[in-house]
Amino acid sequence: MPGMAAAPAIVIAGAGKCGTRAAQEHGAAAARAMLGGTEPYARVPWFWTDQHDFTLQVAGLTDTATGEVVRVRPDGTEIWFGLADGGRLVTAAAAGPGNSVARDIRLAEMLIARRAAPDPAVLADPGVALKSVLRSPVAG
């Protein structure tokens, strides 16, 4: 509605991804809009949920993936990467004990934001730190 802006306490942003960080970012976006900004809100959706001793984290929109790569970490945790046509990373998801998947999903989120198209073999290789992928030229 013209002239109206919302700065929510919690938001849903794209395919059910929600959270307090999104709320914080939406608040800032609303403030920018009220001050005349026209930049669209384009952050990568990110979501987590605790299920007893496990946490599930998802970054990106899973329904935009047309291919997939799975990384099996030494602790047995699987990190699922979704790729779009052309190999661009568009989503990642994992579940593991405590917050053990948070770091990998955060790095995947940053790769998604940079519209990176990492080598699928690298994504699948648990010996290659995602932080090094983020800092490689392919990450943009």
């Binding site: 307090t20 960080r21 914080q24 987590w48 405590g98 917050n99 053990s100 948070a102 770091r103 955060r106 790095l107 932080k131």
Partner: protein, 104 residues
């Protein structure tokens, strides 16, 4: 009474990474910078007490794995919402490959 406690071996922490350390019922986070300097903070985020050791360490910053609260791990300074309170830091030193932190 402050005391120096052996927290870990220097090689236990990868460059630009963090590991947990528990002593006397308290949790700490031990950091190694890309320049191989060592730092220590309280183990928990000041926002909702999440363990920081599962967070991402990049560019001098530790980011909480739950709500993305960010701290300068060299100074403990909170870098913005949702964290409003600095995280406590502890002096460190490395002797013969062992990392010590001063607690108490």
């Amino acid at each position: 009474m402050p005391q120096w406690i052996a927290a870990c071996e220097a090689d236990d922490v990868d460059p630009e990474d963090v590991i947990p350390f528990e002593h006397g019922g308290s949790d700490y986070a031990i950091y190694r910078s890309p320049e191989d300097a060592y730092f220590a903070t309280d183990g928990h985020c000041t926002h909702e007490k999440t363990l920081l050791c599962d967070g991402l360490v990049m560019d001098g910053v530790i980011e909480c794995p739950k709500h993305n609260g960010r701290f300068d791990y060299t100074s403990g300074k909170a870098l913005g919402a949702p964290v409003l309170v600095d995280v406590r830091t502890y002096p460190t030193k490395v002797i013969d490959g062992t990392v010590y932190i001063e607690v108490g």
